[in-house]
Amino acid sequence: MQGLDFTIVAPYWDLLLTGAWWTALLTVSAGALSFVFGILFAVTVLYAPLIVAYPVRVFMWVFMGTPLLLQLFLIYFGLVQIGIDIPALAAGIVGLGLHFAVYNADVIRAGIVAVDVGQTEGARSIGFGKWQTLRYVVIPQAIRNTAPPIGSNLIALLKESSIVSVIGIAELVHSAQQAISETFRPFEFYITAAALYYILNLVLEAGLRRFERNVEVSR
């Protein structure tokens, strides 16, 4: 049995922080993508003509019904075969972003439907068009009302982003593994990585709570 010795982490600290930085970057960019596409999918499914809405619905079923790992492999390794070569980082962001966009779309769709019909009538009676009403009145309220579940999805995304280590993106788990392969000390590095994830999540949660508090007054 080996004793525990966390001083081993010190020389790899920069490596781990760089990994954490990439994790944060992945979360922010994939999170933004999942948010924007979540709204886009929700609006498409609800309001677009069937010829557009139906393919999006099928896409959503497929993305919800298959593992994220498989989706990443498909985007990164599979698409090359048909001539679409996407860099690992882009593949990771797109994969994570689309995967969570589907979850966000489900939540936002429910949020849009739940906005009182009086809101739409109020906007239409002033002279706002269908899309203007969605953009300025319905969607902002749907987002506010569904902020907590969207936030949970974002927290899940932060943790699930570790999976992109398999396509070689040097995020936090990937960095920890690299350090382990040189030191053969998995416990210390996995614990340190876990602590860093936890800190990132604390920051994220603080941000989300702040947003929800701001939104609270305008409900």
Binding site: E121, S125, G129, R219
Partner: protein, 254 residues
């Protein structure tokens, strides 16, 4: 003067919800500056009539005209959408449940229409909103969110929001029905002020006294038809039709 079309004209309006015909051929003409109160029991079709004037309900038959322009033109798709959005900008509507936008402050609720739809500069829209808020007695609430206002205050903001589009006519759909009795007067006062300024108004209401005070003409509707109409003095004091008498008796004794 006589060549100008009526401000609002409804001809042979018919509307069904499924098998139920709620408007059975309504004719109505409102001159500029005239105030028409529409009364009648629940389900008489009075709200549906008001809502079809700005096409929140689409008629199954008949025509609606606003100041010489047909509201329910037989256009389709985007063409109708563009047309109706323009027409609606000229009609203010006030709802029973206010329908203020809860995610926007009072002033944002009011400036949103003029800024986005009319391209009014923000400063100008703000000045306009402030003037309207002073008029409805809520200048101190500009930055409040609707959730912080009483029902009466919400409805006065909703009126200011409608007025900000500088409409040709105001439609009131039971504007005080959802309010606590002690808050009704503050909303009625604003409506009376508009009346004094010769705003053309159509008012669907359950308040007979208010209708009697403010309206030039009262329409009594029942079962999807106009049973009787005339000056408030005639309708309230000497109704000609039996149906009107029983309705008013029930109301005035309640």
């Amino acid at each position: 003067m006589s060549l100008r079309p009526p401000m609002v004209e409804v001809r042979g309006a018919r509307k069904s919800f499924g098998a139920v015909e709620v408007l059975k051929g309504i004719d109505l003409s409102v001159e500029r500056g005239q105030i028409v109160a529409i009364i009648g029991p629940s389900g008489s079709g009075k709200s549906t009539l008001l809502r079809s004037i700005n096409h929140l309900e689409s008629l199954n038959g008949g025509e609606v005209w606003l100041d010489g322009v047909q509201v329910n033109q037989p256009l389709h798709g985007q063409a109708f959408e563009r047309h109706i959005n323009k027409v609606r900008q000229q009609m203010g509507m006030v709802f029973q449940h206010f329908n203020l936008f809860p995610h926007l402050t009072v002033i944002e609720n009011i400036t949103m229409g003029p800024v986005i739809l009319k391209g009014m500069p923000k400063a100008e829209a703000r000045a306009l909103a402030l003037a309207l808020l002073s008029k409805v007695g809520l200048a101190d609430k500009i930055d409040a969110y609707p959730s912080r206002l009483s029902g009466g205050q919400k409805q006065r903001v909703a009126i200011a929001r409608a007025l900000a589009m500088q409409p040709k006519v105001m439609l009131f759909d039971e504007a005080t029905s959802a309010l606590d009795p002690e808050l009704v007067d503050e909303v009625n006062a604003v409506m009376k002020q508009l009346a004094a300024e010769h705003m053309t108004m159509l008012i669907v209401t359950h308040e007979m006294r208010f209708a009697g005070e403010v309206a030039d003409r009262v329409l009594f509707m029942d079962g999807g038809v106009v049973v009787e109409e005339g000056p408030p003095a005639d309708i309230f004091r000497a109704p000609q039709k039996e149906r009107t008498r029983t309705f008013l008796k029930k109301y005035l004794s309640a």
